[in-house]
Amino acid sequence: MRIEKCYFCSGPVYPGHGVMFVRNDCKSFRFCRSKCHKNFKKKRNPRKTRWTKAFRKASGKELTVDNALEFEKRRNIPVKYNRQLWDKTVEAMRKVEEIKRKRQAKFIMNRLKKGKQLEKEEAISEVKKNIHLIKAPHAGKAKQLEDKMVQKLQEDVDMGDDDI
């Protein structure tokens, strides 16, 4: 028993689910549900249909090159049965799954962090552009002028002291 991958959406096809189609060039296609099957019959390209994993990987939205993903590749050489190997494989599968998930999540988080930065910059520029809605244009100017005059007077006084 083997859990295959759907040709269209790359989702898991469990036994008893989905449809299998064999084309006349002897290539077989598995589909997880009729949604994928119908899209295939409409000749849609999975690499261009936005909700499929094929699209996400092709457009760099998800982790593509990683050691953890190498474990999922199909091996065509049967391995001799060894009970210890079997037990260790089951444990390893669990750990690899965990690591894979964390790495995929990290990848997506990193991708989305740039969005936060861009948002911040946009907010700042928006505030600068529309500051007139919050603050009147000559709002702090009078006080600034006063402070400057006070400072100048202070300087004159100091200069006067120095002379004397």
Partner: protein, 111 residues
């Protein structure tokens, strides 16, 4: 009168003829032929028996659907006429009782 695609390498099945091979009789109780049923074909002006190995019609759950109605030429005693079958064959044939063992033996891939 379904037109059918012969998938073995028998000379009768592969020599071109101006009319495609057609099914003229189905050896089942109801006239519907599925994978593993014998049918009578009219090929090159002769009558010949054949075994259905894959059809376009959706069949049992967990069986593949093929892009064409594939058929393997067979003698009256169940021996296949050709020596090799390159096209993938529905693995339902393996489970079915009936002496298709010789046909299974010359098939190269199962789906």
């Amino acid at each position: 009168m379904t037109r059918v695609r012969v998938v073995d390498n028998s000379p009768l099945g592969n020599t071109p003829y101006h009319r495609p091979p057609k099914v003229i009789h189905v050896y089942t109780k109801n006239g519907v032929g599925k994978v593993g049923d014998t049918v009578l074909l009219a090929i090159k002006g002769q009558k010949k028996k054949a075994l259905i190995v894959g059809h376009k019609m959706p069949g049992d759950r967990m069986t593949p659907r093929f892009d064409s109605n594939n058929v393997v030429l067979i003698e009256d005693n169940g021996n296949p006429t050709g020596t090799r079958i390159k096209v993938p064959i529905s693995s339902k044939l393996r489970k079915m009782e009936g002496d298709h063992s010789k046909v299974l033996a010359i098939a190269s891939s199962f789906v």
